[in-house]
Amino acid sequence: MAGITLENVGKTYAGDVAAVADVNLEINDGEFVVLVGPSGCGKSTLLRMVAGLETITEGRVTIGARVVNNLEPADRDIAMVFQNYALYPHMTVRQNLSYGLKNRRMPRDEITRRVDEAAGILEIGEYLDRKPRALSGGQRQRVAMGRAIVREPAAFLFDEPLSNLDAKLRVSMRGEIRSLQKRLGTTSVYVTHDQLEAMTLADRLVVLRGGRIEQIGAPIEVYRRPVSTFVAGFIGSPAMNLLPGTLQGGQLHVGGQSFAVEVAGNEKVEVGIRPEDLRPAKSGEPGLAVSLAYVEALGAQQLGHFRVDGHPLVAAFPPDQLVHDRMSLAFDRTILHLFSAETGKRLN
C-alpha cells in the first residue's frame, strides 16, 4: 500500500514534442484516481510513465517512499491491466496468473494459495486450466485483473481496460472493478476516455488536455464547477450547452435575455447551461426562445434538440413532457456557468 506522487512530470519526445508537461498530482494511499481526456491528451503516456514503460524526461515520480524514475517496471511494485488484456496465449489461466509470482521466486504453495484466492474473488476458478483463447472477452478481462491482484502490489494501473468489451459488460465490469478496489483498498490509477466511466469510478478525477492537467477534483465537483469550457464540454452527457453572450457592467446578455450576475468586467463570454438544468418556462417567466430541431426519446428522459439564435441547444426533459416547435426554456440563474470567450476559463 502506498501513495503516488508526481512532481513537475513531463515527457518530451525527440524533436521537442511535449506529450506530457508539468503534471503535479498527489494520489493518496487507497485512492482511486481516474485520468480522463480525449485521445492524444497524454493520459496513457502519463500512466505508462508511472508504470515504467516510458522514460520520464522531466520531474519526479514517487511510489510509496521511493523515487522510481530509474527503476525497471518490475521493481516499481505496480501491476497493470492492459486494454487488450495482454494475456499470454500459450499459457493456461493458472500459468498466466502465476507467471509474475514465479519470476519473483515465490514459494510454490504461496503461489497456489494466491492464485486460488484471486480466482475465487473473480469467479474464474473453473477456467484455471483453460487457455485465454477459450475464454470470452469478459472472462479474459477478469483473468487480466487476476494477474494484477495476485501480485498484491502497491498500486494498480488500468489502461482503458473496458474499451474492448460490449456496452452491457462494460457497465457490469465497471461496477466490479469499483467494488474490488474498495475491498482491496489498493491505490489505483485508471485511464479512460469515457467520461461516464470516469464519473462512476473515480474518487478523484484528473481531466487532461494537451498533456497538461486541466482540472482535478471529485467527480461531482468537476461536474458542478468545471474550470473551463473544455472540461464543461467533456464531463457530463449530453454535453453542457455553451451559448455566446456578453458581460457588461454586471449585466449578462444571452439569447435575447439580460439579467444581473455577480461577475464584474466587460467581455464576451460563453454561457454554460447543462441540458438537465433547462425546463419549459412557466407563463410570464422569462426564458430562451427556442425552435425545435428534433427530439430523441431515451425512455427515462427525452432530449430536445433546439436552436436558439442559430446556436444548437440540448435540453433534457422528463419523458412525459410535451415538446413544441417553439418553446420558451427557463433555467436557474444561480447555476449558470460563465466562461471567458477568449481564454475559456471560468469566470464565476
Binding site: 517496471p73 518490475a74 492492459f82 499470454y88 496465449p89 507467471y99 519470476n103 519473483r104 494477474r147
Partner: protein
C-alpha cells in the same frame, strides 16, 4: 476468412480455367515423377539398348551400398546444420531489427539482398572467400594457426557448403521472423516486463513460444530447401567432394544418373528422396494445423 463464391453458367468454363494449371502439374510434375517411379524398377545398359525389369532390385542394391548410406548420413548432417544455422542466425538478426526504430528499414532491405543472388553465384562467392590459395579467410585462419583446405579436408568442405547454403536462406527466414515478431503485441512484452521477467526470461518464456508456429514452418521449409535447392551450391563449391564428404542425396541423383548414366539407380534414389520430403511435409501439415490457431 471469407471466400467469394462464383457460380458459372457454362459447365465447361471452370474446367477450362483450371486446365493450364492442371496441364503444368501433369506434364512437369506427375508425369516425370511417374517416370521416375517406373524407371526405378528397371535396369538399363549404358547404351540404352536393353532394358530389364528388376522389381525392387535397384532399391536393394542402394540400401546395401555404403556409398549411398554415406550420402544419407552426409545429407542428414548437412540439412540439420544448414537449417539450424540459417534459422538461428535469422532469428538473431530479426530480434536485432525488432529493437531498432530508425534504421530498421535500411537494415531489412540489406538483409534481404542475399536472397536475390543466384545459388551458383553465392557458391562461387564463398568458394573465392574460402579458396585455400587466393581466399581471404584461409589467409586469416592461417594466422591463428588453422590450415584451411576444403579440397582436401572433409570437415572443412562440409563447413563451407553449410555456410554457403545457409547464407542464402538467412534472408528468407529473416523476413518471416520479422513479420512474426511484429505480430506479437508490444503489450505482451510490457506485461512480462511488469511481471518481473528480464530480457532473457522474456525471450524464452514469451517471445519464443509465440514464434513457434513461424519457427516450425521455417524448419520444414529449410529442410526441404537443403534437400533439393542446394544442388547449385554443392555443384559450384565442392562437386560432392572430397571423397564423397559433401555428396548429398540430390547431388548423388544427378551424378549417378546424368554423369554415371546409371538411370535405374538414379531413379530409385530420387524416389527415396521424394518419399523423405513428402513425409516431412505431411508431418508439417499435421503439426501446424494443430498448433496455429490464435
Amino acid at each position: 476468412m471469407q471466400t467469394k463464391r462464383t457460380i458459372f453458367r457454362n459447365l465447361w468454363l471452370p474446367y477450362l480455367l483450371v486446365a493450364p494449371q492442371l496441364a503444368i502439374t501433369l506434364i512437369f510434375f506427375l508425369w516425370p515423377a511417374g517416370q521416375a517411379v517406373w524407371q526405378s524398377f528397371l535396369r538399363e545398359d549404358a547404351f540404352g539398348l536393353k532394358t530389364t525389369f528388376i522389381g525392387l532390385g535397384n532399391y536393394e542394391r542402394l540400401l546395401d551400398n555404403p556409398e549411398y548410406l554415406n550420402s544419407l548420413k552426409v545429407t542428414a548432417v548437412f540439412s540439420i546444420s544448414t537449417a539450424t544455422l540459417a534459422i538461428v542466425l535469422a532469428l538473431v538478426l530479426a530480434l536485432a531489427v525488432d529493437r531498432m526504430l530508425r534504421s530498421a528499414r535500411v537494415y531489412t532491405t540489406l538483409l534481404v539482398w542475399p536472397y536475390a543472388v543466384a545459388p551458383a553465384i553465392a557458391g562461387v562467392l564463398w568458394w573465392f572467400i574460402f579458396n585455400p590459395t587466393i581466399g581471404i579467410l584461409p589467409y586469416l585462419l592461417d594466422r591463428v594457426g588453422y590450415d584451411w583446405n576444403h579440397s582436401l579436408i572433409k570437415r572443412d568442405a562440409m563447413i563451407l557448403v553449410i555456410i554457403a547454403a545457409a547464407w542464402k536462406q538467412v534472408s528468407y527466414n529473416f523476413l518471416f521472423f520479422v513479420a512474426g515478431l511484429q505480430a506479437i503485441p508490444a503489450s505482451m512484452r510490457e506485461a512480462a516486463a511488469i511481471d518481473g521477467a528480464g530480457p532473457f526470461k522474456r525471450f524464452w518464456s514469451i517471445t519464443l513460444p509465440l514464434l513457434s508456429p513461424t519457427t516450425f514452418f521455417l524448419l520444414v521449409v529449410n529442410v526441404v530447401y537443403t534437400m533439393f535447392d542446394t544442388f547449385p551450391v554443392i555443384d559450384a563449391v565442392t562437386s560432392g567432394g572430397p571423397a564423397q564428404a559433401t555428396n548429398i542425396l540430390v547431388y548423388k541423383v544427378y551424378r549417378d544418373g546424368f554423369v554415371g548414366l546409371n538411370l535405374g539407380s538414379s531413379a530409385a534414389q530420387s524416389v527415396i528422396l521424394m518419399a523423405i520430403v513428402i513425409s516431412l511435409t505431411v508431418i508439417q501439415f499435421r503439426y501446424i494445423e494443430r498448433r496455429v490457431t490464435y
